[in-house]
Symmetry: C2
Amino acid sequence: MPRGAQTFALTACEASARIADGTLSAEAYTAACLERIEALDRELGAFAHLDPDHALAQARARDEWRRQGRPLGPLHGVPVAIKDIFDTADYPTECGSPILAGRRPGTDATVVRKLREAGAVIIGKTVTTEFAYYHPGKTRNPRNRDHTPGGSSSGSAAAVAAQMVPLAIGSQTNGSVIRPAAFCGVFGIKPSRGLISRAGALPLSRTLDHVGAFARSLEDLALILDVVVGSDPADPDSEPFAARDFRRSAGEPRSAAPRLALVRTPVWDKADPEARAALEAVAERLHAREVDLPDSCRAAWDAHRAIMAAEMAFNLGKFVERGGEVSQRFRDLIAEGSKVTAAHYLAAVRDAQRHAEAVGRIFDDGIDAIITLSAPGTAPLGLGTTGDPSFCTFWTLVGVPSINLPLIDGANGLPIGVQLCGALRHDARLMRTARAVVAQLAGA
Amino acid sequence: MPRGAQTFALTACEASARIADGTLSAEAYTAACLERIEALDRELGAFAHLDPDHALAQARARDEWRRQGRPLGPLHGVPVAIKDIFDTADYPTECGSPILAGRRPGTDATVVRKLREAGAVIIGKTVTTEFAYYHPGKTRNPRNRDHTPGGSSSGSAAAVAAQMVPLAIGSQTNGSVIRPAAFCGVFGIKPSRGLISRAGALPLSRTLDHVGAFARSLEDLALILDVVVGSDPADPDSEPFAARDFRRSAGEPRSAAPRLALVRTPVWDKADPEARAALEAVAERLHAREVDLPDSCRAAWDAHRAIMAAEMAFNLGKFVERGGEVSQRFRDLIAEGSKVTAAHYLAAVRDAQRHAEAVGRIFDDGIDAIITLSAPGTAPLGLGTTGDPSFCTFWTLVGVPSINLPLIDGANGLPIGVQLCGALRHDARLMRTARAVVAQLAGA
């Protein structure tokens, strides 16, 4: 039996252990999460599609499975929320646009299929901005409802922050996991390019799209990563990775303090003085050494913009051409992207590779992780914007893994996100470093 | 000692066996090739850079190596000619353009390095059209000097056809190996995309550039393929392949006649009636069954054009921008490519993938190879054009391996090329099929 009202607040690791040992049923845990959603979501607006009966039916099936003594997956009976750009066989997938209202793809995206295979309860679909670009959905920030939760994975970040679910799936093409994680005060990861299949997700940009995840602990991030990573023939850019056991390797003890590099990046001046000072103080406590990106990296933000606009025009231009109901901002992006020449696009892709090589050299120099800001400051006031992704842009372009750590609170009571970035394809090492950083700051 | 005047006419397999068993020296063989070049090349113009003393010095070093009892590579002492878009440490690499006159890169392209490691004598650099596009070089067709040798690997095809060298390296972005092989009457192969590293070759189009080879026998093509294939970190698109021993696997006996598909493609009407009839007669003798490409493949030629123009504008536009001496045709291509939008380019790349899947389905149906024409007919009269590559365009776009078989002579005495295309990454199977086809036609 769940321990009363706080069942919804369990982490996924705690809940899955209790479900496995029989001290908590999947049904009770799912019911607790659904009650929490019922209590809060009218105001927070994290969910786009929710079917409590269907969620409970999944949970009961998980319980029946366990009663039969069958083997349990790592997420057996754990509710997971899915950003509404990932196809689901049992819920609509509308991508935050009225054009796709009522769309039911009838199949699961690869990540959703993998979650089900691991025993998860797909509890519902979370609000995304329109086509995962800037135009906001209905979601409010659980930490202060007058503020944006960030975007584009707004609902996934808010649902985890409000303890509606322990885990949620999001995606990042610019700053759509790390920024809302920072604004809502949860852990979020955008893994290395190619680590998680994008098959069955709305394609914005083949070069830039990444699947990511939200949780309230690093252990929970490792738990869900173990389930969703892996190459997939349906995503030709997904790659096999050597390290697959994130939970174990993220938990391995470290012999020495992690070696961190404080990288301010050329957008540093856009950050609030408070956020800059707070991050620099943390970096100092962690004995991070200051490292500058090469001057040539200043061009990376324009390269990202050219690639994103061009690829989104290619993938999503049809929604504008067909005269559908789209926001002006989205329409402007498609118009901008349609004008990008192939030669300009190819130069941006080439330059991205060069920036990635420059970042690789930082890690070659014995650095475990880069420490920087996740966003220019706390979540902006108002729901008309999702805030500035530019502190994530560079790391998305070069494809390295990034984690948001909710370690600092601003004077307004809202969180300031600390971003750690690791070497490409060294996601497990980044997880290990993040764990050491959290321990070091907690112990100081 | 060489057997008199015909030493130059040896195949690479024959010569390497005799060099290995000591009945021919690398020096004598190279000298025989150099004499042949000396006798013919003033008129044929196959070579752009030749240094007889340096070639003989390489050959003598090979002989000395053998005298010391050291292990011999598969091409030990065999002269190979290299298209002048591949970097060579010891010769200029001018890419057929006065803009690059005297350019000495100082390093070897990966294929050249592999040839040297296999014991080859890099005898000289062969004429390419300007930047491996259409504007012709000085080369004439050895079969009739008033006719084009084809392009862009004009010199490599002519040098092998004229028995100046047993082997030569070329490249194909549209029809630059198969077409000159057809016009000059030699065997030529454009292997699967990714089979041979392009590192150190002039990049025209990352999507379309392939390294290829010319020889006077299929066994010789297999011999050089065994040396030059393989993934290379310096070419991120090069891939590891399972089958590496082309010479052995191409020689394996077949239990049944190869199953061929006659594919006319949408450009069939561009072919001369004589060539069409000759190819159809051959296909009938081989019991090929007629297979049509899906109608959607009609768009492939435009897709190829968009990709090639855009990527060449990206890679080579600088030569026009700097106001260098370029042909009008090259200038027009760059202007055309500069106007291609990224969205159009990305759609062409996506469509190419779909065409490749359509071709894959032909092979799924139990077909060993597609049989079609290599070119619309025999080599056109005159040296102002290199002929029409459109019979190669589709197969280059989809990346499948293609071989030219010099099996038919036209009424004018010039060869008509038979093109065999295999399934992607089944290059060894295509070689085996080609061998069976040659045997079948010889025995009939």
